[in-house]
């Protein structure tokens, strides 16, 4: 084969060549303008950093508005809060009063019905752990809050979905609302809720109901819309009234999707209730963990964190079990006696416990001397390990900081110093760097396409100046052009608007810190997650091994994930970096595997019969076809990374998350919301770009219509 680049480019059809050339000119102009701006920047302060006097007092206005709102509406919200408090306190009272074996028996019965005896056993063990570590009482307080907020979220979600699913007009309003509900960091809207409802456990209920609502709405809308027209018509022809059609045809047909929504909403509600502990108003398990973490008691926080982890797993598996059951091909026609057995057993335990509790006090309160609380042992072991391997861990940490995180944030031009890299930056290095970049770009243009070269130019420039060193105008220009070229002009405009929002609200520098951190973590996720995903797509055993780990990571309330990294690397940026990767890598793994496994068998067979080696098959056939899916995974990864970024403010990461966190501790609604919306904008723009690209690519490949 003598395939020269010329003959390759000749494959382009005239129209796509035309489109691609217009893109080329656009990029040429953008890059030249950028180069000029970068050259001018050292002498024009307003170019380097957004001028302070451009900042509009949006945060202040927001605060003033909040002040008025609080003054006017506080009594009403307080009243609502009191209403919510009634069922919550009642539930918490019952859960505290019930002897622990009774509660465990009820849970075990649910688990049994949902997914069989294995889950039931797991549930018993998990809850027993809470008993014997002495965390039963705070756990039950958390459960009480969650059990009130879930129905609220479901009700809210149900209502929203019902008015949305068949009205494109309402949909246009509701979808962006949901986007913001999911992407504005939870810490940010804790502030206004706190101002309106006052300190207290009700804040957790309200915040988690809001946070848990979007997954319910989205799944339910999809479920209701996906009911097949044949089924609906047959319902109408059977003489269904509109009400009957909705309740007896649409809802049952959408049930399995709705159950997925309920599962996701449950996990979100738990996660938020735990996070709400940060305002420290209730004796729940989230508060226990946070408290221990703040005191740097790692053994204790690990033990308590495990409670949350187990809690999440039990709730997740049980609700998943019910969801799978509704999807099962056929219900089991088990005899009534068999079906009733778990409930009867649970009831028997409840009755027995209630009868004997007055005599046997250990049924109500686990005696302290029976507690198993190995915090000291863990702390000692930890001390030993960190002392023993301190130089190794320091090396790992510093290498990641100096050679990876720092260049992305402040660029090689500043990151290279005798202190970090062991030598100072000489002018010839800069010239060599520029020359190398130019050579790679030119080679790329000759061997692949001009797009590759544009990518190289952008990447090398970025690495040289860093996120914070790049003139802001250049950043906005390049990123918005990417959005425009990759998705469409609307997304480009959205991007422009979003970044200008950061400028006029004065959060530009924090935003750049967040972008740098997020970018670094996402790159690692893509690389590592992609490799794991490829491996899992080739081996069922690996896939089966990884799946439960992914499930667990994904259902984990965010700040539990911080604990293990905090133990080894203490407070700081590196800990945040690892925690973000641990949480955000999951979608990359999942979507890569899913995408690769989804490549049609016939395509693989055709390629194999043409003599593709396994490596060629992967790189030339499977990965290109799976790329749209992988991009969707990347999209999710970015969303997860941003969500985690806010939480890592707890362990000292900088950027918008930190701003939100500080605003939260100052009850500064304006600053919190501004920074929160800043993060939401980053998330939404990224989402539109990646989704836009993925959808277009899938259409081009004929994977969707």
């Amino acid at each position: 084969m003598n395939s020269s680049p010329q003959s390759e480019s000749a494959n382009y059809s005239p129209t796509s060549l035309g489109a691609s050339l217009s893109g080329f000119w656009i990029w040429l102009v953008v890059l030249i303008v950028s180069a000029v701006l970068i050259w001018l920047a050292p002498n024009a302060a307003w170019l380097a950093k957004p001028p302070v006097d451009w900042v509009l007092p949006i945060a202040d206005y927001t605060n003033q508005f909040m002040q008025v709102l609080v003054n006017v509406a506080k009594p009403m919200f307080r009243l609502i809060g009191e209403w919510f408090a009634i069922p919550m306190e009642a539930l918490q009272g019952i859960l505290q009063w019930l002897p622990w074996p009774a509660t465990i028996a009820i849970f075990a019965a649910f688990a049994w019905v949902a997914a069989g005896w294995k889950l039931s056993l797991f549930t018993v063990l998990a809850l027993m752990y809470m008993v014997i570590t002495g965390y039963w009482s705070p756990s039950m307080n958390t459960l009480g809050t969650v059990l009130v907020s879930i129905p609220l979220a479901l009700l809210l979600g149900f209502g929203l979905a019902v008015i949305t699913y068949d009205s494109p007009k309402v949909n246009r309003v509701v979808q962006p609302l949901l986007d913001f509900m999911q992407t504005v960091p939870t810490f940010a809207y804790l502030i206004p809720i706190m101002l309106l409802f006052g300190f207290g456990p009700v804040v957790g209920v309200v915040a988690s109901a809001i946070y848990a609502c979007p997954p319910m709405v989205r799944n339910m809308i999809v479920g209701l819309q996906q009911v097949s027209p044949d089924v609906l018509e047959s319902g109408r022809m059977s003489g269904a009234t509109p009400m009957q059609l909705f309740w007896q045809v649409r809802i049952p047909n959408a049930m399995s999707t709705i159950m997925v929504g309920i599962n996701q909403a449950t996990m979100a509600a738990l996660s938020m209730v735990i996070i709400a502990a940060i305002i420290g108003s209730s004796a729940d398990i989230g508060w226990e963990v946070l408290n221990q973490m703040r005191k740097a008691r790692f053994g204790e926080s690990l033990i308590a964190g495990l409670v949350i982890a187990l809690f999440a797993m039990v709730l997740d598996r049980i609700s998943m079990g019910f969801s799978n059951r509704s999807r099962a091909i056929a219900r089991q026609h088990a005899a009534l006696t068999v079906r009733a057995a778990p409930w009867v057993l649970a009831l028997a335990v409840v009755v027995l416990c209630s009868v004997f509790a007055p005599q046997l006090t250990w049924l109500s309160v686990w005696p302290e001397q029976w507690e198993f609380y190995p915090a000291d042992a863990i702390n000692n072991a930890l001390k030993y390990v960190t002392a023993e391997y301190s130089s190794l861990m320091k090396t790992i940490k510093n290498s990641a900081l100096f050679y990876f995180l720092l260049p992305i944030r402040i660029g090689f031009s500043k990151a290279i110093s005798p202190f970090s890299w062991g030598f100072a930056l000489e002018p010839w290095m800069m010239h060599a760097y520029a020359a190398a970049a130019a050579v790679i770009a030119l080679l790329g243009a000759w061997r692949f396409s001009w797009r590759f070269s544009v990518g190289v130019v952008i990447a090398t420039t970025l690495l040289w100046y860093g996120m914070t060193g790049l003139p802001w105008v250049v950043f906005i220009l390049v990123v918005s052009t990417i959005a425009w070229q990759v998705a469409d002009w609307r997304v480009g405009l959205l991007s422009l608007f979003a970044w200008l929002f950061m400028v006029v609200t004065g959060i530009w520098e924090q935003a750049m810190l967040s972008v740098a951190m997020c970018l670094a973590a996402v790159m690692v996720c893509l690389l590592l997650g992609g490799m794991i995903g490829i491996w899992a797509s080739r081996s069922d055993r690996v896939s089966a091994f990884i799946r439960p780990i992914n499930d667990t990571l994904q259902s984990m309330p965010l700040f539990v994930i911080l604990i293990p990294f905090l133990m080894f690397f203490q407070i700081g940026e590196f800990t945040s970096f690892l925690a973000i990767i641990a949480y955000a890598i999951v979608p990359c793994i999942r979507y890569t595997e899913h995408g690769l496994r989804g490549v049609p068998e016939s395509t693989v067979e055709a390629a194999t019969s043409m003599g593709c080696t396994p490596r060629q098959l992967l790189w030339n056939v499977k990965l290109p076809l799976a790329l749209p899916q992988i991009m969707l995974g990347l999209n999710q990864t970015v969303m997860f990374a941003l969500a985690m970024l806010v939480i890592t403010a707890l362990v000292g990461s900088k950027g918008l998350g930190q701003s939100v966190y500080i605003a939260l501790s100052n009850s500064d609604a304006g600053q919190g919301l501004v920074a929160g919306f800043g993060m939401a904008f980053i998330a939404i723009v990224t989402d539109r770009v990646l989704q836009g690209w993925s959808l277009r690519r899938q259409r081009e490949l004929g994977l969707v219509s």
Binding site: V231, E233, T241, Q248
Partner: protein
């Protein structure tokens, strides 16, 4: 040829009353149809001109000035390629699709003026419909699916089960009462769909490509069963198909649609022997003529020389069935209708008819 047409008039359904009547039904899709259609209809009184105007505005004309009558107890088939508007038409008859203009009469009453409550009542008691993809409720068992229309009417569980069991027996699904749709084969699922549509004892039975999703062998078997059911139940049937051979097997009359227009309406024989245009001829060209022409259309007056031992056959018998008989009865066969002798058909007449239509195609 004119003689053939006359004879087809003796069709049994001809004398019975009209059950459903479509009068100039239009269905137009597109933005703002409710305003744009009347405006254009006001400018163009001629249907052809109106259709042209609608199309030139970028509207989708799914049904265009369609008129036909369906007689009580007949199997009326609507045939056409995919996208020709068949589903739209059958849905106009039940108002699953709201016609843009025109009239639909059911037993002489205006269906389009019925309000929601009346419409639900009509669907609950007078119409049954079968869908191409079955439209079964996946969360209900066979028994529950079939009893579903009765449940919507508020019938008691005992009544539902009793009636469902009756129709289950009718369609031959005994033993599968407690299965879920996904556990059944396609053919069995459609039996459930048929049973459900019959559960309310409707007198109008609408079937939209009921057998198109099935394998050819199963399809054939279901067609036989369908004919058997119809001899038992004698419903008024509107049956949609894109398969001309299916239409031939089942139809009393066939309406052929193209691009939303009714192109030709007639008995299978009429369509085969006198296609109105190339579109119809294209469907009919591969149909063996001896399988379409019936002896009833070739009757010669009973003359004195009728062979005494000649077999007596029904007037609806097709030539492919009759021809082997000529081997032992070269003098011809006697055609009768319910015991009354109509006349004789001779080999010579048969050859003449076949030769005539062979050349015309």
């Amino acid at each position: 040829m004119s003689t053939l047409k006359d004879v087809s008039g003796t069709h049994s359904a001809a004398e019975s009353s009209v059950k459903i009547s479509c009068r100039s039904v239009w269905k137009v899709y597109g933005d703002n149809v409710s305003q744009r259609y009347p405006a254009l209809a006001g400018q163009h009184s001629d249907p052809a001109a109106l259709r042209k105007a609608l199309l030139s505005e970028g509207l989708i004309v799914a049904a265009s000035d369609v008129s036909f009558d369906v007689r009580s107890g007949e199997i009326f088939i609507i045939m056409g390629l995919s996208g020709s508007g068949k589903s739209t038409m059958v849905r106009c008859l039940s108002r699953l699709v709201e016609p843009t203009a025109g009239e639909v009469l059911l037993d002489g009453e205006d269906l389009l003026s019925a309000n929601d409550a009346e419409l639900i009542k009509i669907r609950r008691h007078r119409m049954g419909m079968v869908f191409q993809n079955f439209g079964l409720m996946p969360h209900l068992t066979v028994l529950e699916n079939i009893g579903f229309p009765l449940k919507l009417q508020g019938k008691s569980s005992r009544e539902r089960v009793a009636r469902a069991k009756e129709v289950i027996e009718l369609v031959g699904l005994e033993g599968r009462e407690d299965s879920f749709p996904r556990e059944l084969s396609g053919g069995q699922q459609q039996r459930v769909g048929i049973a459900r549509s019959l559960a309310v004892e409707p007198d109008v039975w609408l079937l939209d490509e009921p057998f198109s999703a099935l394998d050819p062998l199963i399809r054939r078997q279901m067609q036989d069963e369908f004919l058997r059911l119809q001899t038992l139940l004698n419903k008024t049937i509107v049956f949609i198909t894109h398969d001309f051979l299916e239409a031939l097997r089942l139809a009393d009359r066939i309406a052929i649609m193209k691009d939303g227009q009714l192109v030709q309406l007639g008995t299978p024989t009429e369509l085969v022997l006198n296609p109105a245009n190339d579109y119809v001829a294209e469907f009919t060209k591969d149909v063996p003529r001896d399988r379409v022409i019936t002896v009833g259309e070739l009757i010669e007056n009973a003359s004195s020389d009728v062979p005494v031992d000649a077999p007596r056959i029904a007037s609806k018998t097709t030539l492919d069935v009759v021809m082997p008989m000529f081997e032992s009865h070269p003098g011809g066969v006697v055609v009768d209708s319910e015991g009354v002798t109509l006349g004789v058909v001779t080999p010579a007449r048969v050859i003449q008819a076949l030769a005539q239509h062979q050349s015309s195609s």
